[in-house]
């Protein structure tokens, strides 16, 4: 029985799904049911919930997310470099080194901002 890798991944995930999903349904059916305004309130350590939950928290860290998106891509490109590193000559390697050196400038700018604002 020769299955290719991704069918195996799919089968494995289906097995996990077929175990966990009935469990959730089972818990949904077996648990007690009931509605009450106090019991349905979000948990706030015993106090009456106040205000809206979905507020704009933590927006001062937004630049971290931007940096993540950017360096995600960089890391992926560096992976391809790592794969060929020892099988290509130096004259080809230095393209990636130039790529890295170009990235130093934005990183330095980001660190500069980081130092100035205590966060980026």
């Amino acid at each position: 029985m020769a299955l290719d890798n991704w069918s195996l991944v799919a089968i494995f995930e289906i097995v996990v799904f077929l175990t966990i999903f009935p469990l959730l349904i089972f818990g949904w059916l077996m648990g007690a049911k009931g509605r009450h305004p106090i019991r349905d309130a979000p948990f706030e350590s015993g106090q009456t919930p106040m205000g809206e939950a979905r507020r704009r928290y933590m927006m001062q860290y937004y630049p971290y997310l931007i940096m993540f998106v950017v360096f995600d891509v960089v890391a992926m490109f560096l992976f391809t470099w790592g794969l060929v590193f020892s099988s290509i000559s130096f004259s080809q390697d230095y393209v990636f080194l130039i790529f890295l050196i170009i990235l130093v400038a934005p990183l330095a700018y980001a660190l500069h901002l980081s130092g100035k604002h205590e966060s980026w």
């Binding site: 991704w6 809206e52 979905r54 507020r55 704009r56 928290y57 933590m58 927006m59 001062q60 937004y62 630049p63 997310l65 931007i66 940096m67 993540f68 998106v69 950017v70 995600d72 891509v73 960089v74 992926m76 490109f77 391809t80 470099w81 790592g82 794969l83 060929v84 590193f85 099988s87 290509i88 080809q92 390697d93 393209v95 990636f96 130039i98 790529f99 170009i102 990235l103 400038a105 934005p106 990183l107 700018y109 980001a110 901002l113 604002h117 966060s119 980026w120």
Partner: protein, 174 residues
């Protein structure tokens, strides 16, 4: 087997793409977009491009969709929706018409003009290092330009985010 998988993936992609645009709440739209992009990754795998599929999942679903979701949560208004969306009115119909026309034209034109033999060659297992070799040789200029693009993106986006933060001197929320 591959046909069935392809049909299922296509259905998933198309359906979730439509739902992404038509979902009532923006955050559900983002979820459907994520599912659609996962479907695209599945099509990549079907075409033998596993590495690209992983790239797609990690960058699109892992990073871009998270950024979109977080932005949606930031522009979320406490009561109701952000924008009163246009219903399926005149503009919606015009959009559907234009879109249908363009899609049909492109499909017919591509199929007619395709110079490639439509029969697929035998399945091939790509040696991954080949990809890096290609990046380092034929596409090296593009790589350097991509580095510049990344630099410009970082500086531009961080500057925008900084301007945005100076509106609130203490940098805290609300």
């Amino acid at each position: 087997m591959a046909d069935v998988v392809f049909l299922a993936l296509s259905g998933l992609i198309i359906a979730s793409a439509i739902l992404a645009l038509e979902a009532r709440e923006l955050i559900y739209g983002a979820i459907w977009l994520a599912i659609s992009l996962m479907g695209v990754a599945g099509v990549f795998i079907l075409l033998g491009a596993e590495y690209v599929a992983m790239f797609q999942v990690a960058v699109y679903v892992g990073a871009v969709v998270v950024l979109i979701m977080f932005t949606i949560m930031l522009v979320h208004r406490e009561s109701g929706r952000i924008v009163d969306e246009e219903g399926p009115g005149r503009l919606g119909r015009a959009g559907a018409f234009v879109a249908g026309l363009v899609a049909l034209t492109v499909a017919v034109a591509t199929i007619l003009l395709t110079p490639v033999s439509p029969a697929a060659p035998e399945f091939y297992r790509v040696a991954l290092p080949e990809l890096g070799r290609l990046l380092a040789s034929s596409y090296s200029i593009a790589l350097v330009i991509l580095g510049l693009l990344i630099g410009a993106t970082v500086i531009g986006a961080l500057t925008l985010a900084k301007v945005e933060r100076e509106g609130e001197p203490d940098g805290t929320v609300e």
